[in-house]
Amino acid sequence: MATTTAVDLTSQTKPKKLLLQVAHDWLTTVDHKKIGIMYIVYALVFLVIAGFMAMLIRIQLAVPNNHFLSPQVFNRLFTMHGTTMVFFVGMPILFGFGNYLIPLMIGARDMAFPRLNAFSFWISAFGGILLYYSYVGGSGLYGAGSAPDVSWWAYAPLTEKVFSPGHSTDYWTFSILLSGIGTTGTAINIVATILSMRCKGMTMTRLPLLPWIYLVTSFLVFVAVSPLTAAQIMITIDRYLGAHFFDTQAGGSAILWFHFFWIFGHPEVYILVMPAFGFMNEIIPVFSRKAIFGYPAMVAATVSIGFISLSVWAHHMFIDGLGAGGNIFFTAATMVISVPTGIKIFNWLATMWGGKIQFKTPMLFATGFLFQFLGAGLTGIVLSSAPMDWQLNNTYFVVAHFHYVLVGAILFALFAAFYYWYPKMTGRMLSERLGKWHFWLFVIGFHLTFDLMHVPGILGMPRRIYTYEAGRGWDSWNMLVSAGGFIQAIATVIFVVNMVWAFYRGRVAGPDPWDAWTLEWATTSPPPDYNFAVPPSISSRRPLWDLKHPEDVDSHYEY
């Protein structure tokens, strides 16, 4: 593949810097690549913390009548686990990849508002730190401080002063508020960047699908995060100034909180899962050696998912007494989402169909994503019918469903993204051998845990219980579920080892290790500060293909 382009090597030949200088560089940086990496590292740290909490929860539930944890500690653990995973792992890691990749993929030198970018990162990061500071706040480390214990949706009136005295709920509220500010800032930045910084020749119809998806997702962030922020402010006013927005005793409405929360909460799951779709759109074609099938349909499906996901939030409220009309509407709306989602799945399959598929680690994880996302969609359809939900709501079935999405789909897509873009970010390849161990162990652990978790749910095991009596038919299932959890933990350790090892010892990647087609591979790995020595100019959706095959350029094939 002898193709040439103007890139430079200065970034590889810089002299070594003092530690203090390095720290200063990172703290003051406004470079989208550094900020992206900081987002990713901070999310990984929280991933390990929240994963460790999950292990504690699973130890507690592995056998009946267990007293490993106290009820109070258990409540705190699942609250912190859920909150951390959604707000301080999921969102930052996706914004991290977005930050890193979007300017590179659209041939820009930076984000539209580099300083706002730095601000958004830091305020989200401080939000996470504040959340964990709750462990040392109040009654200190050993009394586990004031860690919140109201779960990640903080239903009112439980969160009102009467039921949650002290400051634990305030920690939750304020950290969500801070992360909400950061998230909104990043979303503004992403929209502005994609709309105004594309390189010469990159029309919206030539925009790679990953930036397309981040564009739609960022719009969703505007619409969904604002109600959440408003709700946090309202509950703060309730708690500090004695208002009664959600205080049922004084004429406030708990249902109002549910609406505020889920009008954010459901789009939030799409905010998390859509970037995962974006990773698939980049990875599956490259490892199938085919162009993505149905680019326009993919864009249309993305946009319509964005719209529909805003109108289904109340499927989280079927048991709250919305009335038959509400239930029917939200059942139907929820089921409609399966159409654009189905279009995406079939287009991925059509992309793989007849391709020369190479099962490198990123592709393995992508394939796992496809299967598991399908499974998640099917249990979602089961839950979206109100009568079934009346049976299954607040059981382990729901927990199994959303972990199918959050772990089976989103985390798998993230792993795929790591194996795929790690060489670009660090200049070194992750080990394929460790990667395959990681993949297979994780798949086995995942299915052991979350396939089986549906069963105690159907048998009536409620969620958020801290222990249960023996002999209800839940025991052995729970033991297996916990065992699966540990297999996943081991796989994650392999992944972390792989990353650390590869950073120092991994094979040098070169600019384009996967023989890919999008612009981020047209510069060195890692890219220099300014991304491209000469800003690129493109004429098709696969600019690198054109560069490598001038005799057979892509624009002939575009439609």
Binding site: M1, T3, T4, D8, L9, T10, T28, V30, R109, A112, P114, R115, A118, F119, I123, F126, G127, I129, L130, Y133, G137, S146, H167, D170, S196, M197, R198, C199, K200, G201, M202, T203, M204, Y240, R289, K290, A291, G294, A297, I328, V339, I343, F346, N347, A350, W353, G354, G355, K356, S385, P387, P511, W514, T524, P528, D529, Y530, A533, D552, H556
Partner: protein
């Protein structure tokens, strides 16, 4: 966005180049300080008021500092570029599958193949869905006439899925004409036919070779199976009263008509087809490639 507009935006932040240097936004500590200040002002509410005071003390200089970074001129930092011609290298190893000897044709000698060669457009499925939806009403009406002497029965039954109050109504009630029943039944039926058609259209490109088999038989069987297992959940009242024999008959009516309509539609040529020489596309040459010749890009 037009190309010219894209070009004009290309250097939106004024990252101008000058003689081997690129101007990038200068690093700054103020966003961090501002974020810290805001966080501390909130954190003070849960810890100690002094923390809030400290936070506010950080917010003010941070705002000023940030302002000064941008006004009157955005601060930039020149970064040296050393331009060198470097090959975009890849170590990607392509395993060439053993391939049967095939006669060289335009597509086999070309370097890549986009599969499938031709396919249906997504909206063909919608058309098929509408046609099938209309066709479905015939067996449903016959069933209603035979069993309840009323063509309204099936429609009301469908509508009952949307009217919870109808769940306990008698067969006689459902056999009467109700305007709301007609409207609701029509809406539900039209909506679901179109949606099923749309999904259909998404699946068809996967089976470009046997559209009649797929659209006419396999897909309706699939939908019926899916509905059979889930109808109890979707609409318990429908599930309780439905006659599955007639239901399957009407599903086949849907599938066959939808399949027929789909087959009438012109297939959309995929980019691969359009890349073939004109003589092949026009049908003057007969060496158009068959889809099943498994080919890869032979560019390695």
């Amino acid at each position: 966005m037009s190309e010219r507009a894209a070009m004009a935006h290309n250097d939106g932040t004024g990252h101008a180049e000058s003689e081997g240097f690129v101007q990038l936004p200068a690093p700054t500590i103020w966003p961090l300080i501002l974020a810290l200040g805001v966080s501390l002002s909130l954190a003070g509410l849960v810890t100690h008021w002094a923390i809030t005071v400290l936070g506010v003390c950080l917010v003010l200089p941070a705002i000023v500092g940030w302002f000064v970074q941008i006004f009157p001129h955005e601060r930039h930092e020149p970064v040296a570029v050393s331009t060198q011609i470097v090959p975009i290298s890849t170590e990607w190893i392509v395993h060439v599958r053993p391939q049967p000897e095939i006669e060289p044709s335009a597509a086999t000698t070309g370097r890549r193949q986009v599969l499938p060669l031709e396919s249906y457009s997504l909206f063909v499925g919608v058309k098929g869905g509408i046609a099938g939806g209309i066709a479905m009403t015939v067996p449903a009406a016959i069933f209603g006439l035979l069993k309840y002497h009323s063509v309204w029965y099936p429609i009301n039954l469908l509508a009952a899925g949307g009217f919870v109050s109808w769940a306990s109504e008698s067969d006689a009630f459902l056999a009467q004409f109700h305007l709301y029943g007609l409207l609701a039944g029509f809406a539900i039926h039209a909506f679901s036919s179109v949606l099923v058609g749309l999904l259909y259209g998404a699946i068809l490109p996967m089976f470009p070779r046997r559209p009649i088999l797929t659209a006419g038989f396999i897909a309706p069987l699939f939908w019926t199976g899916l509905l059979y297992t889930s109808l109890g959940i979707l609409s318990p009242i429908l599930d309780a009263r439905i006659n599955w024999l007639w239901f399957i008959v009407s599903q086949f009516a849907f599938g066959l008509v939808a399949g027929f309509v789909v087959n009438l539609q012109v297939r959309v040529r995929t980019p691969q087809f359009r890349a073939l020489p004109f003589a092949v596309r026009a049908g003057l040459h007969t060496d158009a490639p068959r889809v099943d010749e498994s080919l890869g890009d032979k560019n390695k």
